[in-house]
């Protein structure tokens, strides 16, 4: 089992097991668990901040190159520290108090949004044995948690005491609730194929081929549908109706300033990252290397040497790049067109797609 050997090179299970047993030897089980939680929390927090900062930079660079300009290039090499400078500015900027705003909800809203995206990261497998929690209903958990963000957006719109914010929040509510269905159904298509909702099992099932190749046409359609509806779910263009700069100035976060605005901003980018990593995990094989059949054994072997974390990051950023690409190309939809697209086109299409996939799996026609 040559293949297995290479994989064990990059297996994080041994490392995490070793830390776990070490902690349990050193202290009582209660404190060991607390320490583990702390370590994981801090690690995820750092990862979250780094990815968030990098995504903001990436978006600015990508959109700059699509628009014939250079983008940030003054602070640090290639403007890499621009986002850090921006973040520092946001940290120190004055928090403007809003008259007649519902203070409690107004302050609570950004935290709900950011906690929702923070929790979703916990279930994502970055490499073998490298995820915070491996739930047996991983897909379901990620969907449920990321859907919580809409509460924050609705609260922000309601409590700001601003008419633009309220319209933005209402739009966002209608939009996210509708597109949640499509996201769910697109994922169910793959869950049927994999036979499990556990993300690690889904990844493991793609050892000899990613689902997007394995699952015939339905899986490919599901990938496209997932891409469209998850873009809508994360409030990104061309579905950025909740912000709709040219209509509602800034939508639900019009009244937010300073670090509270930064929370919304960061959460939006992290939601994009989460959605992209789910797409990568479920459709593009997660941290699995690119493998062809037995006829390309040499190629497969070389691919095994690239660490799984790199595979995961590359795939995720490929999906993120796709999302940026169409954000910076398409004009925005109107609210009724957005809902029409979901309820009249995507949803029926998705339902048929799920049926077709179920049929294929039943007949055993998949690879």
């Amino acid at each position: 089992m040559n293949e297995g050997k290479v994989f064990s090179l990059y297996d994080f299970t041994a490392l995490t097991k070793w830390i776990d047993t070490g902690l349990h030897h050193a202290m009582s089980p209660f404190w060991a668990v607390i320490t583990e939680l702390l370590i994981i929390g801090v690690l995820i927090l750092i990862f979250y901040a780094l990815i968030g900062l990098f995504l903001v930079y990436a978006e600015r660079k990508v959109c700059a190159f699509m628009q014939n300009r250079l983008g940030p290039n003054r602070v640090g090499p290639f403007g890499l520290f621009q986002t850090i400078a921006d973040l520092l500015k946001l940290l120190f900027v004055e928090l403007v108090p809003i008259k007649n705003a519902d203070k409690f909800l107004f302050n609570l809203a950004p935290f709900i949004v950011i906690i929702a995206s923070f929790m979703a990261i916990a279930a994502i497998p970055f490499a073998k044995g490298l995820h915070a929690i491996d739930l047996n209903i991983g897909v379901f958990y990620v969907m449920a948690v990321s859907a919580m963000g809409v509460i924050g957006i609705l609260l922000a719109g309601w409590s700001s005491n601003n008419k633009y914010s309220l319209i933005g929040a209402m739009r966002s509510g209608a939009q996210i609730v509708s597109y949640e269905l499509s996201v769910g159904l697109a994922l169910i298509t793959v869950v049927i194929l994999a036979g499990s909702m556990q993300l690690s099992v889904i990844v493991e099932a793609q050892r000899d081929g990613w689902f997007i190749f394995k699952g015939h046409i339905p899986a490919f359609i599901a990938f496209i549908l997932f891409l469209i509806s998850s873009t809508a779910e994360t409030n990104r263009g061309p579905f950025d109706l909740a912000e709709a700069e040219s209509e509602l100035t800034a939508g639900y976060h019009t009244e937010y300033s300073g670090i509270k605005f930064a929370f919304f901003f960061l959460a939006e980018f992290m939601n994009m990252f989460i959605v992209a990593s789910i797409a990568a995990t479920v459709f593009l094989g997660g941290w699995m290397p690119l493998h062809f059949g037995a006829w390309a054994a040499g190629f497969n072997h070389v691919m095994d040497f690239i660490p799984p974390f790199i595979w995961y990051i590359v795939k995720t950023f490929f999906v993120i790049w796709l999302m940026m690409w169409f954000k910076w190309t398409f004009p925005r939809l109107r609210i009724d067109q957005l809902l029409t697209l979901e309820w009249k086109y995507l949803l029926p299409f998705n339902l048929v797609n799920v049926l077709v996939m179920a049929f294929i799996v039943l007949m055993g026609w998949h690879f």
Binding site: K163, S246, R332, L333
Partner: protein, 374 residues
């Protein structure tokens, strides 16, 4: 409280009133629209003007005719050259000065370049109104090329003030013809990109086709001119009907559509850019030699009487009406600005559409706020 609501007259109860502007990304300046909404649907639009009123017409009464030129730049700043031309033509008509061909042709070329750059900016900002931010940079990229030509010849990029009564301020730059030809060659290649990015886009079509329809009757009765009026089938091109400068010697089509929706108001402008390029093509090689200005008296005094001249700016018909009592200052100057009249139709066509449509319709009317307020 209830009576108070009634007194304002614009809204009934249960309507959601929103102030769009004076600071708002899609009003393109300091226009304030008071919207009454029912959900997302716009029930009434009431424009509130005057945020950038500088009293240009009143100021004109105390300055000379040469000085008026510089104020007209500041009305519709994207058609600065054409506004200048309107005043100059009016003064020249009043004084019965014969203008040599060279001046006429240079004025026409400059007017058409102005029209092209104005429509480029329209395209750029219209794309941005609809949420396609990339359009803005594409449009401005090409507009820079025209502005560079202006800079070389007029010394200024946007507020050119290149005309003066009797001719031009100075001669064209030796590079002018070469640069214009280069630009035409460049822009002919780039214009299809505009169609790829926006015109052919499914979302764009969905957002614009059939939105904000303006019928021919309404276009005529509201006096909507320019590409916005021609999209409804209102043949109102002053260049065609009352040719001035060198428009009588060039062949071009008046772009006419019958649909009158947002898409065709947009499309008329795209087509006009092509026509403008054709006009320049016909003239650029035929600039005769000669003086760049007719010798005029240092102090221009119009004979007593009333004078009117209209021209076609990038947004429609600009009329300049001057009453003179024989002094060096006019008694009264009135500008019939296209944007003010075009704005009047906004409530009529945007009613019962959504907020997003209002933004699209407002964008397709291509309003320049300083021209509305003057």
């Amino acid at each position: 409280m209830e009576e108070e609501v009634k007194q304002t007259g614009i809204n009934e109860q249960e309507e959601y009133i929103i102030n769009m502007g004076p600071q708002h990304p899609s009003t393109h300046g300091v226009l304030r629209l008071v919207l009454s909404l029912k959900g997302e649907v716009v029930k009434n639009v009431e424009p509130h003007l005057g945020y950038i009123h500088r009293g240009i017409e009143k100021m004109c009464e105390s300055i000379t005719y040469q000085q008026i030129i510089h104020l007209t730049d500041r009305m519709d700043y994207l058609s600065a050259h054409i506004n200048n031309e309107a005043v100059c033509l009016n003064v020249e008509k009043a004084l019965e000065v014969e203008i040599p061909d060279r001046i006429k042709i240079i004025r026409t070329i400059m007017s058409e370049l102005t029209r092209i750059q104005s429509h480029q900016l329209f395209w750029a900002s219209f794309g941005m109104d609809l949420g396609g931010l990339t359009c803005f940079f594409y449009g401005l990229r090409d507009r820079e090329k025209v502005l560079d030509i202006f800079e070389e010849t007029c010394g200024s990029r946007m507020i050119v003030s290149y005309n003066c009564p009797g001719g031009l301020m100075y001669d064209i730059h030796p590079n002018f013809q070469k640069r214009v030809k280069e630009f035409l060659k460049y822009f002919r290649k780039k214009l299809p990109e505009y169609d790829q990015l926006l015109t052919g886009n499914v979302i764009f079509r969905e957002r614009t086709v059939g939105i904000g329809k303006l019928s021919l009757e309404d276009a005529i009765s509201y006096g909507v001119t320019g590409p916005s009026g021609r999209a409804s089938g209102f043949s109102c091109d002053v260049r065609k009907h009352e040719p001035y400068s060198a428009y009588d010697r060039v062949r071009f089509n008046e772009i006419l559509f019958t649909e009158g929706d947002t898409f065709h108001r947009y499309f008329a402008r795209i087509q006009e850019m092509k026509e403008s390029m054709n006009i320049i093509d016909q003239l650029i090689d035929n600039i005769p030699e000669g003086p760049y200005a007719v010798k005029m008296k240092p102090v221009i005094k119009l004979p007593e009487g009333e004078y009117f001249q209209r021209v076609e700016t990038a947004r429609g018909e600009l009329g300049v009406y001057i009453i003179s009592d024989g002094n060096k200052n006019p008694v009264r100057v009135k500008f019939r600005s296209p944007n003010f009249v075009n704005l009047g139709v906004l409530n009529h066509i945007a009613r019962d559409f959504k907020i997003a449509d209002l933004v699209a319709i407002g964008g397709s009317l291509d309003m320049i706020i300083p021209d509305i307020d003057r």
